[in-house]
């Protein structure tokens, strides 16, 4: 497109562009072509081919030399001067360019600067039609000669004939070249429709890029047929000829100034742009400080209807009503108080609860929303209660931690003989070895009990066994404690069990012997009694649960403390129940650094002892196979010191290095002996080396463990460590539980379920309990001024600051509906209602989500909504915007524009320019392919949005075959 030999025109245009006058640039180029015999280029990209053509006559050496020179100059021009610092690299860009141009001149190549080729008029013409869906009646002088000849044959339209005859008359006068054009050559006759093939028409090829024009083909062909245009002439028709045919096909009458081709074209475009670029446009308008409500309304209008003017912003009714309520502040307060005191919500709610098909609506809903926080607190308490009952359940079903089970197994193994004697005493015929082997997973219940008995009778032995196996005394005590089946309860827990037993006296009397009952009466709930009643409570735990729920007098905080205490007892005396896994995981992960510190250091003492033992063994027995690796490692780390030390024994350093390099210490008795002395001399360093090694190992283990906890939660592998960590850091654990907000999301979810009537049975029972318990409170609230007044004051404050929730909305609406006249007066006085209807009374005020509809008694209906005026939403560049100049003129645009609104201009254009230092610069550049639509929002880069016509689903179908630009290029070159 940009280059050509001197004998070629710069624009090798097909015939349908022949009417287009040459541009200034083309005229300049054509002049240059005539004057010089040089090859012209307008783009350095074309240089390679042109250069090789121009240099073809030169000897090969000179060609290479010339190519090198040009390539070096090109490199300097594009990549700057690489010998100077980066900042100064492009300072001489213009100079480099001139050097390049003059060098090219030496080889017969002239470079002409050309900024940009805009789209051809024909393309713009089609795009304009596609965009507006409308076509103006084409002017006669735009049509091609052939087409006009055809028209003359067919139509007898006076105006046309007159026009045409005038033109022909003038042209005859001028003796124009085509004066002898024979009309008889294309005399009118009808050709069969099948003879017409639009594929041969390049001009129609351009139309076809737009699917909507493609769809009009069949209709248009009929017009062409009826006009008697010969089929072979189709290839000669220009874009404007086809426009005329389209106009004739779709015009309403012969004198219509325009014809509608397709409806909703602009709307479709706007819809498309706004749907695809919603976020961009939102961001853009937000940057321009446009009110969010306006943006919402604009989006809705543009995406829904594809129009941008007459935007109705959904009126914020609450604003009017809150202004109204604030205006009548005193009356509003009195209204609320009076309403609360006189309402009969309590009765209604009571009726609703009694009704079996219980749904949350009306007063109950209002009541729940009013007491949202209180209700949520009640839900939280219920959830806490569930957790507390879980903890109690666990206490009555205690389990031995699996790591204690391991110890039991080793204990049984080491006391196999004694255990087998015990078994025979208990008359158990099974083999001892099998029982131990099966322990703990495959063991039968009766054997399990036997083992428990054995352990209880051999508690001291078990304790000693644990200590012998390097368990700490604390752990040993814990292990013994965990064997006990007696529930370990808090005082409150004991109280509630006791009262449960008292409440079920009759049942208990049937089950338990008199002695137990007496003991309960006399001593209360001792551990012994608790152990004996445990099976009973386990069996009847569901009754116990209900009893606890019904007789729980603890407040939320008290219950939370109770739960924390119970959990503490569980952790201290037994294993960790699965129900606490999430809590414990959260605790560990939120205290990772403390956990790490604890984990690495809690065995330090033991490691120190181990290190001392290892050292003593080495100092006594010398270095041998079992410790050679450690000793070798220790010396390797401080080899230079060792060499110095060994000098007194006259051992050459090379030998020492070799020995340690080959790990051959064990075979070199000499050095081995010296190493032993060395270690003995630096015993403390050696011990701390051993300790450090242990700690490093621990650190690595810790990372693995944390990763494991994150991925898999609490498993058998890590439970032991976590359990011990919690026991050692109980204060932290209690604090964590108090701050823990795991319960909140669950509470919110239950609340939403209840409010939206999606609740399950459990949630329903929470709700009923709450309503039952709180109606009385509500009734008190109704009459108690100290509670009522702050409530009203809160509402008034919220309204004043426009913090309007459902409660506020309820009162506002109620107040407005009760005082329609006052409201109308207020609206008139504030000029919200411009039509003054005098003394007409308002019949009703109806509220929907978006509108406030006021019906007056004389039938006049007022819908309250704010309207923003956008008179000039979509404008063609040719039209005038209000009293200003042409929009295109103002904005330096030469094509289509879309004005989203008058103040925040977003313009849709084909090619847009802005003046820049006396040159034209294309603000919204066209893509090299076919992006010929651009949304332009301002000079800043982030305010510019390109609209890729290629991706428009209206054209995408056709792009698969041939892209827009390709089609145009082929249109140029094929000719």
């Amino acid at each position: 497109m940009a280059s050509g030999k001197s004998n070629k025109s710069i624009k090798n245009s097909p015939e349908f562009f022949s009417d287009e006058p040459l541009t200034v640039e083309e005229r300049i180029l054509d002049t240059l072509q005539q004057k010089h015999s040089q090859t012209l280029i307008t783009d350095f990209s074309e240089l390679e081919d042109t250069l090789s053509e121009c240099l073809s006559s030169l000897p090969p050496e000179e060609i290479r030399q010339a190519e090198d020179i040009i390539s070096e100059l090109l490199d300097k021009y594009y990549n700057g001067d690489r010998d100077v610092p980066q900042k100064q690299r492009f300072l001489k860009r213009e100079e480099h360019k001139q050097n390049l141009i003059s060098a090219l001149k030496n080889y017969g190549i002239s470079y002409v600067e050309k900024y940009h080729y805009p789209l051809s008029y024909e393309e713009k013409h089609i795009i304009r039609m596609d965009f507006y869906g409308r076509i103006n009646k084409p002017r006669i002088n735009m049509l091609s000669r052939l087409y006009k000849a055809c028209l003359r044959n067919k139509f007898s339209d006076e105006d046309e004939e007159e026009n045409e005859s005038q033109i022909i008359h003038k042209k005859k006068k001028k003796k124009h070249a085509h004066q002898n054009f024979s009309t008889s050559q294309y005399s009118h006759r009808e050709y069969p429709l099948s003879d017409y093939d639009l594929n041969i028409s390049k001009a129609w090829g351009l139309f076809r890029l737009f699917p909507r024009f493609h769809n009009l083909e069949s209709k248009m062909l009929k017009t062409i047929q009826s006009m008697g245009i010969p089929p072979e002439l189709l290839s000669q028709l220009s874009v404007y000829d086809y426009s005329d045919i389209l106009y004739r096909t779709f015009r309403k009458s012969e004198k219509s100034p325009d014809a509608h081709l397709f409806l909703g074209a602009r709307q479709a475009f706007v819809k498309d742009v706004f749907k695809k670029n919603e976020q961009w446009i939102r961001n853009y308008l937000t940057r321009q400080n446009v009110h969010p409500r306006y943006i919402d309304a604009l989006m809705k209008m543009a995406q829904g209807k594809g129009i941008l003017n007459d935007i109705n912003i959904a009126s914020d009714d609450d604003t009017f009503m809150s202004e109204f309520a604030t205006f009548h502040n005193k009356e509003f307060q009195e209204f609320i108080i009076e309403n609360i005191r006189s309402d009969n919500y309590a009765d209604e709610i009571r009726n609703q609860i009694q009704n079996n098909s219980f749904t949350i609506e009306g007063p109950a809903l209002h009541f729940l929303q009013n007491t949202k926080n209180q209700f949520k607190q009640a839900i939280k308490k219920q959830l806490l209660e569930t957790n507390y009952l879980d903890a109690l359940y666990y206490q009555f079903n205690r389990q031995i931690p699996f790591y204690v089970l391991d110890d039991i197994k080793t204990f049984l193994k080491s006391n196999e003989e004694d255990f087998s004697l015990f078994l025979s005493e208990m008359k158990i015929s099974q083999k001892t070895k099998k029982i131990i082997k099966d322990f703990p997973n495959k063991i039968k219940p009766q054997n399990w009990k036997t083992i428990e008995k054995y352990l209880l009778t051999h508690q001291d032995d078990f304790y000693v066994h644990l200590l012998d196996n390097s368990r700490s005394p604390e752990y040993a005590r814990f292990a013994l404690q965990s064997l006990s089946e007696t529930p370990i309860l808090t005082d409150f827990g004991k109280d509630i069990v006791f009262s449960f037993l008292s409440a079920n006296k009759d049942t208990i009397a049937k089950i338990f012997p008199q002695e137990t009952l007496k003991k309960i009466e006399q001593n209360g709930l001792t551990d012994e009694v608790l152990l004996s009643v445990t099976p009973f409570i386990k069996q009847n735990f569901s009754f116990f649960k209900k009893y606890v729920q019904n007789n729980n007098i603890l407040t939320f905080n008290e219950l939370q403390n109770e739960l924390i205490e119970t959990r503490k007892l569980i952790i201290q005396n037994g294993s960790m129940p699965d129900s606490m896994n999430n809590l414990n995981k959260g605790f560990v992960l939120s205290h990772t650094s403390i956990f790490k510190d604890w984990y690495i250091n809690f065995h330090t003492k033991q490691y120190k002892e181990n290190a001392s033992q290892t050292y003593e063994q080495i100092s006594l027995n010398g270095i041998n196979a079992s410790n050679i690796k450690t000793c070798s490692h220790f010396i390797k780390e401080r080899l230079s010191n060792f060499i110095e030390y060994a000098e007194q024994y006259n051992i050459p350093s090379a030998e020492i290095i070799k020995t340690f390099k080959e790990d051959n210490l064990i075979n070199n008795q000499n050095i081995c002996g010296i190493a032993h002395d060395f270690i003995t001399k630096y015993s403390s360093a050696f011990k701390s080396f051993l300790l450090q090694k242990h700690l490093e190992q621990k650190e690595n283990n810790f990372e693995v463990m944390i990763k494991n906890i994150k991925q898999n939660g609490i498993t058998e592998k890590n439970a032991g460590n976590i359990h011990k960590f919690i026991i050692d850091n109980q204060a932290l654990y209690v604090e964590y539980q108090k701050k823990n907000k795991l319960i909140n999301p669950l509470t919110d979810q239950i609340y939403e379920n209840i409010i939206n009537n999606r609740s399950n049975e459990q949630e329903k029972s929470i709700l009923k309990d709450y309503l039952n318990q709180n109606i009385f409170n509500y009734m008190i609230f109704q009459q108690d001024d100290t509670q009522l007044f702050p409530y009203v004051k809160g509402i008034i404050q919220n309204i004043k600051h426009l913090h309007i929730d459902s409660t506020e909305q309820h009162w506002l609406r109620a107040f407005t509906q009760k005082n329609p006249e006052k409201f109308k007066d207020f609206m008139v006085s504030q000029q919200y209602i411009s039509e003054d209807k005098g003394n007409d009374l308002i019949k009703s005020i109806k509220q929907t989500k978006k509108n406030l509809k006021i019906t007056f008694k004389d039938g006049y209906v007022l819908k309250l909504k704010m309207t923003v005026h956008h008179k000039k939403a979509i404008k063609d560049s040719g039209e005038l915007a209000q009293n200003l100049k042409s929009i295109a003129e103002i904005n330096n645009f030469s094509n289509l524009c879309v004005f989203i609104d008058f103040w925040h201009t977003i313009i849709h254009s084909l090619d847009s320019k802005e003046p820049l230092e006396d040159k034209e610069r294309f603000v919204a550049r066209l893509e090299p392919t076919d992006d010929n639509m651009v949304i332009y929002g301002g000079a800043k880069k982030e305010d510019q949005l390109s609209y890729n016509y290629k991706n428009d689903n209206r054209t995408i179908k056709y792009n698969k075959k041939l892209s827009h630009q390709q089609a145009i290029i082929s249109g140029y070159t094929n000719e």
Binding site: S45, N79, R925, T929
Partner: protein, 137 residues
């Protein structure tokens, strides 16, 4: 590519490349035949993870069988640069191209219209850092 950039990339998109060595060999051969510069090794490393990427308006091309603009070969065939022997187009945004300049061993952001160099980076990591607008957290 350092971990930091990889993390930032992962936030945008999971690695999705299924390209094999033969894909790269074929592409490099074609580029050589068509007299374009070859793809640099660190860019190939990136393609092993992501077969192209679109972020913040910039498209980094990959290897696709179709004749699309995300395809490196197509991008190079459709755009011309006077120094095409020394450079290879790697990506584009609305106004710029991302290219690799083999002669000077740098990645460059160049203006689409006049091919002027706007930014230069020595490694692809640096380029990504700029493109992804990575800031210290």
């Amino acid at each position: 590519m350092n971990n930091y950039i990889l993390q930032s990339l992962n936030r945008i998109k999971e690695p999705d490349s299924i390209l094999t060595s033969s894909d790269f060999i074929t592409l490099q051969q074609t580029l050589k035949q068509k007299k374009y510069a070859l793809l640099p090794s660190d860019f190939i490393d990136f393609l092993h993870l992501y077969n192209g990427l679109s972020y913040n308006g910039l498209t980094i091309c990959g290897i696709y069988p179709q004749d699309t603009y995300q395809n490196i070969l197509t991008l190079n065939q459709k755009n011309k640069h006077p120094l095409h022997k020394d450079i290879v187009f790697l990506g584009y945004n609305e106004t710029d191209f991302l290219i690799y300049n083999q002669k000077h061993n740098v990645y460059q952001m160049i203006d689409k219209a006049d091919l002027q160099v706007l930014e230069e980076y020595t490694t692809f990591s640096n380029t990504l850092e700029y493109i992804l607008k990575i800031e210290d957290e």
